[in-house]
Symmetry: C3
Subunit: 378 residues, 3 copies
């Protein structure tokens, strides 16, 4: 606790923690003030993310970057999982799917690209363990193919009935979870020496004691989950008043704020020349959402949702996931990075964001167009 208070004195950003109780109270008292809640929740998430990042680094200092990256990705995605389960219970499958696809694309392109850029602006050339990058990119590539299949099978003109898509989604969910589990066995048990960091970079501040770090991780994760929920509820309405399309909100805004904690850790790692940590968080988080969070949601929908959820995405989302994965696979292939690699990856993200932003605000056009063709083909 003393360490925590000392930390607060040194880092004025943490004073924003005062917004956490404020936003929780405001959500109780004024649940209709969407724009206010939106602003308050963003201010509350930022310091929580910073705290989470600091605690994760302390744990990673003890466990090595690969385990630290996995830990960070898992705790970061716990937030996404909690949010998605809430939406699932309400039957809002469109939002669940948009946030899954958005999180994969944002982590793969924005988090990875910004890490390369931020690291590259400080260091001329950075190296990282390409075995880890390859395994994660391989897992992501596999997941993208799996998510593509239900969308391909049930395209316009197809007479494949919904029950078959549902059956297929359950089968794919099981396959993906098994592949993810085996990937963990590979990276943490049988071949863990391959995942050692290539360079340790600056050590930065003295790490916290492990006990404090783990407790902080647990407590802050719960707070992030609570505040994120308020954020997601308010963002939809607030975005409408700013004139953003639903697709843009689900894909970009939710994903960026939902991943703020992981991003803080990834960017801080890149600035300390620990690109292994950054790449581990970015690609690890994306592949965890694709191979663990999404399948768990499909299986959970049988117990807590009004109807089962399938893995069928709109074609635009699948295309973006495919190109994001291919970009990451090609870029991380060399195990070296300079600032321009970051520019390239971020620009692909900006291309997607621009397309989603310009779609008409009231309708998710890419989704609509598929439905339109389905109507037509009947």
């Amino acid at each position: 606790m003393k360490t925590l208070l000392k930390e607060m004195r040194h880092n004025p950003l943490l004073w924003l923690l005062a917004f956490v109780p404020v936003v929780l109270a405001a959500a109780k008292l004024k649940p209709e003030a969407h724009t206010l809640l939106f602003v308050l929740s963003v201010f509350a998430i930022v310091p929580l993310a910073a705290l989470l990042s600091r605690a994760t680094e302390s744990v990673a200092a003890k466990t090595g970057d690969a385990v630290g990256g996995l830990l960070n990705a898992t705790l970061g995605n716990l937030t996404e999982l909690v949010i998605a389960l809430t939406a699932l219970r309400a039957g809002e499958y469109m939002l669940v799917k948009a946030s899954i696809a958005g999180a994969i694309v944002t982590n793969t392109l924005f988090m990875l690209g910004a890490s390369f850029l931020l690291g590259g602006l400080k260091y001329h050339m950075q190296e990282y363990n390409r075995v880890n990058a390859r395994v994660q990119a391989g897992l992501l590539f596999l997941a993208t193919i799996a998510l593509l299949i239900p969308s391909l099978v049930s395209q316009p003109g197809s007479t494949v009935a919904a029950p078959i898509v549902q059956e297929l989604s359950v089968g794919l969910a099981v396959l993906l979870i098994v592949a993810y589990a085996l990937g963990m066995v590979f990276s943490l048990v049988t071949h863990k020496e391959e995942f050692a960091s290539v360079a340790h970079g600056e050590e930065g501040e003295a790490p916290w004691p492990v006990g404090l770090a783990v407790m902080t991780l647990a407590g802050v994760t719960v707070l992030v989950a609570l505040v994120s929920e308020i954020f997601v509820e308010s963002v939809q309405k607030a975005a409408e008043s700013f004139g953003m399309s639903q697709a843009f909100v689900g894909f970009i805004v939710v994903a960026l704020v939902g991943g703020a904690a992981e991003m803080a850790s990834a960017f801080s790692g890149a600035r300390k020349n620990r690109l292994d940590l950054s790449v581990g968080i970015a690609l690890g988080s994306a592949s965890q959402i694709a191979l663990f969070v999404a399948p768990v949601l499909v299986l959970a929908s049988y117990f807590i949702g009004p109807t089962p959820m399938d893995l069928q995405f709109w074609l635009g989302a699948v295309a973006m996931m495919f190109f994001a994965t291919l970009t990451a696979a090609l870029v991380t292939n060399s195990g070296r990075s300079a600032w321009f690699a970051g520019v390239l990856v971020i620009t692909v993200y900006l291309v997607f964001a621009m397309a989603l932003y310009l779609l008409p605000p009231r309708e998710q056009q890419l989704g609509k167009s598929v439905e339109a063709m389905e109507q037509q083909s009947k």
Copy 2:
């Protein structure tokens, strides 16, 4: 002959060879007993595959792994060629195309993935010559693009007439055969030193004399062709009684049993740490089907088929070939392999197999849907 008998005494699997005359006799006497013939033919193919594998290894011990892999792929694909020519004469172009696409996908994903997995379970990390893998993956990639073009050109809404697709198919067939021939010149003549094996691994049993090995190769190949034909005839009917879809049978079951001989060799090579042999058989066999068997069938259809055959596949098949090739290219890029690479590649195969299995049994839905759109667009 004495060597062959000694081999039989040591390897009880070869006792199954007794099923070869049984299935040939049964096919004469009871051509209607499809399920019986199906089971008998599978039991007969297994020992023939084992024998073929043993003989190929003996030849490969003399010629080096690259030539051994080519030899094995060629003899293994002779089977596929014989079967396809039979189907061609009967005008069953749908079956011919399904077995071509299925063989490419099965060899690229299942045979390669299972080799990585089986080798990786025994050895911590295996290395192989990535030049060979790259050339084969490059050839496969080229072939996939070529097979994609006729399908793209004649999509729904297109007014491109069938004669143009036919002309295009003949032109592509000639291009592919020329590229394949030049690939052989490259790997066997001008740059053969680049294709040397990186590690020779265990030698295993003493190799047979070359004369015996070559004679066994020739004789067993003929027997495999005979039994395979019975298998293909019976499998369609037998599969229906098991409730499998036509797409699943053509793509998965026929390809797996048709490739049993090559698989036995590839897996045995992987277990002996001779991954060059395994990769050579898997990718070499796939690229040979794409660049040699398929084009030859197009050209042969002018002489022996009722009408000329084109290279237009249903979109689902083309998509699977494209993703299979891309997966192989990305995975074999490093020249190193551990068990998890096998898991990744096999899982992609399982995703495809699952989608094909769940399609309604009576209709090849993915093919149907394209036809439906074509109808609609007229």
Copy 3:
């Protein structure tokens, strides 16, 4: 001037320069004689290309291959830019887009592949700086994704209005130009040591004095632009009388002749074992067209065109650009090349050329089919 005359005496090809005034005069006197003008302009472009190549090499000898490649690509594409601006003023957007897509595909596949092949026939194995190849392939990949988005967004069944596609195109144009400018900062300023040539190969003839070389570059570029314009005007009509389709002319013939100057330099570099120069010209030229010429044309269309031009290509063109880029990325990954790499890349080009050639001569079928679906979906 004396150097130039000495050059002419040694190189009989340069005597063809006599065709330059002839074609300029013929275009004034007989503007209707399309087939004659077509033949004359080809004869005039060849020696100009040779001269341009010689001058560029002289500059490159002073500046290093990376800068030389950039210089060559820029001056070579000046031609394409001038031609496209002329077509833009006339409102012929179809021709502008076909020549953009064709130039990207031709440079990426034919120019790169022929360089590998020509170099590989002389040298057993050639090495080149893969950092440059990777950056260019990365830029190209990014551009392909950007060009794909407007085509995906406005697919059949979509209700996305033309103004949105136009807005999106302007946004993408700005993004691409910024990425291209940053790429130049990266390769010429911050990380220029990474772009040094790996091997310098033969020096060949003595380089010209820089002053003469630069003046020749400037003068010949103007002449190429003048003659190219006559060529483009005549080729359309001449091609019709030869029975070629519009798609084939725009994509293949215009791109091949328009790129003749760069090709002469690239091939000459490959024959002198300076593959860095060849790869720099081929991929650099392609990425410059995608990230600089095409966006500039979109922005320029607001000032000089009858209506603004968007970045929406027909799907076949986008598919070919995507496969061309992916092929280049996979092939240049290793930094080594032998003749067969050239065969593979050229064969992909021949597959595309064959498909375009066989399309019915009067109609750009792939474009038509998209329009047909759009009609249908209304």
